[in-house]
C-alpha cells in the first residue's frame, strides 16, 4: 500500500474553517439549521465543525448523529450482518434546514440511505450535503454535495481515509494506493 497525504494538518484546518464560513454564509446564525453527521465517521466532521462554528458565531449549533445501518441496500450481500451504531437526534427536524455530513462521498449509496433514514424523523424544509472529501466521477447514484472540503480523482482500487487528531493523533487525509494497479 502506497500512502499519499492529500491534506496535511495545516490545510485540514484551513479547509474546515472555509467550510464553516460557507455554512454561515448560507445559514446565518443557525437558528433554523442543524448539522447531522452520518455514523460512524461523519460524526467526527460534525464535532469539529460545531466547535469552530460556535467559536465564530458565539451561539450553540444544534447537532445530531444518524445511523443508516437499517437503510442500506447491501443487507444480505455481505458475509456478516451490519451492526448498528447509535442514532442521536434529540430535536424535531420538522421544517428545519438540515446539513447532512459525511467524511468521504464516493458511490453516493450511503447518502441515499442517509436521506431515507433522515426522513423517518420528519419532513425537513431543506436538506443539503457536506463532505470533507469528494471522490468525483465514482458515483453510482445521482447525488452531489453542496459543500466540499476537497475534490479528488481516484481509482476504485484506491481508498481515502480522513484522520482526526482526537482519534488517530493528527488531522490529515491520506490516499492509499495499491502498488500493482497499473
Amino acid at each position: 500500500m502506497e500512502r499519499q497525504e492529500i491534506l496535511n494538518s495545516k490545510h485540514f484546518e484551513l479547509t474546515i474553517n472555509r467550510l464553516c464560513y460557507q455554512l454561515i454564509e448560507a445559514h446565518g446564525d443557525f437558528s433554523n439549521s442543524v448539522l447531522i453527521g452520518l455514523q460512524p465517521r461523519g460524526v467526527n466532521v460534525v464535532t469539529r465543525l460545531k466547535q469552530n462554528l460556535e467559536a465564530i458565531i458565539g451561539k450553540e449549533v444544534k447537532c445530531g448523529n444518524l445511523d443508516i445501518t437499517f437503510y442500506r441496500d447491501d443487507f444480505r450481500r455481505r458475509e456478516s450482518p451490519l451492526i448498528p451504531s447509535t442514532t442521536n437526534i434529540d430535536f424535531d427536524i420538522e421544517n428545519k434546514d438540515i446539513v447532512l455530513i459525511d467524511d468521504v462521498l464516493y458511490t453516493g449509496r450511503t447518502i441515499r440511505s442517509g436521506l431515507d433514514a433522515l426522513l423517518a424523523f420528519g419532513r425537513p424544509a431543506k436538506v443539503e450535503l457536506l463532505t470533507m472529501i469528494d471522490r468525483r466521477f465514482r458515483r453510482d447514484l445521482p447525488i452531489q454535495a453542496d459543500y466540499v472540503g476537497k475534490t479528488v480523482d481516484t481509482l476504485v482500487s484506491e481508498r481515502v481515509s480522513v484522520e482526526w487528531k482526537e482519534i488517530e493523533g493528527e488531522d490529515k487525509v491520506i490516499l492509499f494506493t495499491q502498488e500493482n494497479n497499473g
Binding site: F70, I83, T86
Partner: protein
Amino acid sequence: MDSLSVDHVIGIKDLTKNDIELIFKTADAFKEVINRPIKKVPSLRDITIANLFFENSTRTRLSFELAEKRLSADVINFSAASSSVKKGETLIDTVNNILSMKVDMVVMRHPNPGAAKFLSERIDAKVVNAGDGTHEHPTQALLDAYSIREKLGSVEGKKVVIVGDILHSRVALSNIYCLKKLGAEVMVCGPTTLIPKYIAELGVLVEHNLRKALEWCDVANMLRIQLERQDIKYFPSLREYSMQYGLNKELLDSLPKEIVVMHPGPINRGVEITSDVADSKQSVILQQVENGVAVRMAVIYLLASKVKR
C-alpha cells in the same frame, strides 16, 4: 464476532454469551427505532416470514408480527385452530406447503417439545422457536434478561428468582439458561410438586419459602400457573397457591430492599401477583412487552442476514 453462531434460534441452550450480547446490542438500536415518529426500517424488504402458531398466543404473536412488519418483511400468519392441521395434516406437510410459497423464515409455536428443532433439521428456511411445549421460549428469556439489563444496568452478578410453575414452564428453562450464561445467580421457588427433581443440576438454587427467596433476590420473575398443562392436581387450590406463593403489596413493601418485579404475561391477577403489585412502579411488566418487540426485531434481523439467495 459480528454474526450469530447459530442458523436457527431454537433455544438459549445453543446460544453463546456473545450471541446474546450481540442480540442485545442490536436490540438497543431497534428500541431507538420503535420510538421514532416512523417506526419502520426497510432492512428486510426481500424477506418473507411465516408465523405458525399451533398453540394459542396473543402477546408473542403480536410482538413477532409487529417486529417483522417494522423490519419491512412480508408476513403470513397461520393458526392451527383454523387450518388443515385439524383435518389431519402432519407438521412437515403443513410447513412444506407453506415453504413452497417461498418463505425465508418460520416463527413457530408448537405444543410439542422439540418441534422447532425437528423442523429446523428438515426445512431450508430459518426457524425461530416461539415456544415449544414445556421446552424453551428463547425470545421471552432474551427480553426478560434485556429488561433486567435495562433496569439494573447489567445482568452479571444480579440475583434473580423465578417463582411458580417451574415444571411446566418453558419460560423458566430458557430464563435459567440465559441468566446463567450472562453471569447472574438464579433461584427457583415454588411448591415441591412444581419444581423438577433435578433442576439444581442446572446450577440454580431451590427455595420453597417465597419470603426467603424474595429477601435474597434483586429481581423476581413471577410465572403464571399453567393450568392448561396440568393433567393432575399439583396443589390443593388456587387460593392456597396464592396465599403461599402469590406476591402482594404487603409482602413487597416489607422486603429490606426494592426489588424489580417481572411477569411474562398473561397475568392471573390475584393468583401469582396482585393488581397493586402488577401496577406498582417496581413492576416492569409493560416495559418487558415493549422490549419484546425490539429483541425480536434483533433476532429476526440477525438471522435474516444469514438467508442466502
